[in-house]
């Protein structure tokens, strides 16, 4: 039996991503600075 303490919920089937720059990834830009600010607050 799996331990209760190791049970993890899956991610949503359609994940939500932040738009991290003026253009989104269709223009191949992932702005790391903004993303990190988003992560660290």
């Amino acid at each position: 039996m799996q331990s209760k303490h190791k049970f993890r919920l899956d991610e949503l089937s359609a994940p939500v991503s932040p738009q991290v720059s003026a253009e989104s990834s269709s223009m191949s830009i992932v702005d790391l600075t903004t993303l990190l600010l988003g992560l660290v607050l």
């Binding site: 049970f7 919920l9 994940p15 939500v16 991503s17 253009e23 989104s24 830009i29 988003g38």
Partner: protein, 275 residues
């Protein structure tokens, strides 16, 4: 800021989103006929050379927000050829782009009706409209919200500079598609706050301290579904019994992806004999 940009800002400051493709675009095209950018960059070059710690606000290596009003944003964007994307995006706001340094290659797709916009329908597929075309330098190209998808394919040089002018009041989602299958794969939100809340919930879950639980439970009622689900995941990471409680709270959630995720989780828990 220079007199051309000042004039432009005053002209568009009271316009609404729905006036973007009419009034705002007219003012933008008039701005393009002026030397506003050359003047601006020259001014910044002087500042950079004289002020050691000068840093234009809202900028990074890839973009520079030249102008932000309540409704619109004007941005200089750097695009790298080497990172040609496997994904293409629709936007929840109108946008116009102008290549500034060279002609660029692009493909243009049409998006089928994407509503409700916060629920991804993976059976839908974008429709090729203009593939492998050339957009000439200094030419405006309009990308309509929820309808047009513009995919940058590179230019002659390793990187190109674009001017991007868009509405910014829309707090909504755009769908991101796989450029090969043309089916949607994820939602992209322009609400930075929801992304930050989601990541913060995740961080609390990974840190695993029970003192975070009351705070996380409050986020089960957040208006953004990705925040609600990440709060539940964090709670489950910290305490299984509390996680089960969170799942029961979200069992009748209004978002179908959450309902589905709760159902899947409860089935897994039952199959593993955890309760």
């Amino acid at each position: 800021m220079n007199s051309y940009l000042n004039h432009f800002q005053n002209a568009i400051k009271d316009l609404k989103d729905e006036q973007f493709l009419t009034h705002a675009l007219t003012h933008f095209n008039a701005l393009l006929q002026t030397p506003f950018l050359i003047e601006l960059v020259n001014t910044y070059l002087k500042k950079l050379s004289t002020e050691t710690h000068f840093y234009p606000t809202r900028s990074s290596i890839n973009y520079w927000h030249i102008l932000n009003t309540d409704a619109f944003t004007l941005t200089l964007v750097r695009l790298e050829k080497a990172t040609a994307s496997k994904f293409v995006n629709a936007y929840p706001y109108d946008k116009v782009i102008v290549p500034l340094t060279e002609n660029i290659q692009y493909s243009h797709y049409k998006q089928p009706y994407p509503f409700p916009v916060n629920i991804l329908d993976k059976t839908k597929k974008i429709i090729p409209f203009a593939i492998d075309k050339t957009l000439s330098k200094n030419t405006s190209y309009v990308i309509k919200k929820h309808e047009d998808i513009f995919s940058y394919k590179g230019g002659k040089s390793d990187e190109a500079m674009l001017l991007s002018f868009s509405c910014r009041k829309s707090h909504s989602y755009g769908w991101e598609y796989d450029a090969n299958t043309l089916h949607p794969v994820r939602l992209v939100t322009n609400v930075l706050q929801s992304a930050r809340l989601e990541h913060t919930c995740k961080l609390l879950g990974e840190l695993g301290n029970k003192s975070s639980l009351p705070n996380l439970f409050e986020f089960l009622e957040n208006p953004y579904h990705n925040v609600r689900w990440e709060a539940a995941r964090a709670i489950m990471n910290i305490d299984f019994d509390k996680g089960l409680e969170a799942l029961l709270i979200l069992k009748e959630d209004t978002h179908p992806d959450i309902k589905q995720s709760v159902d899947n989780a409860l089935k897994q828990i039952s199959a593993l004999n955890l309760i």
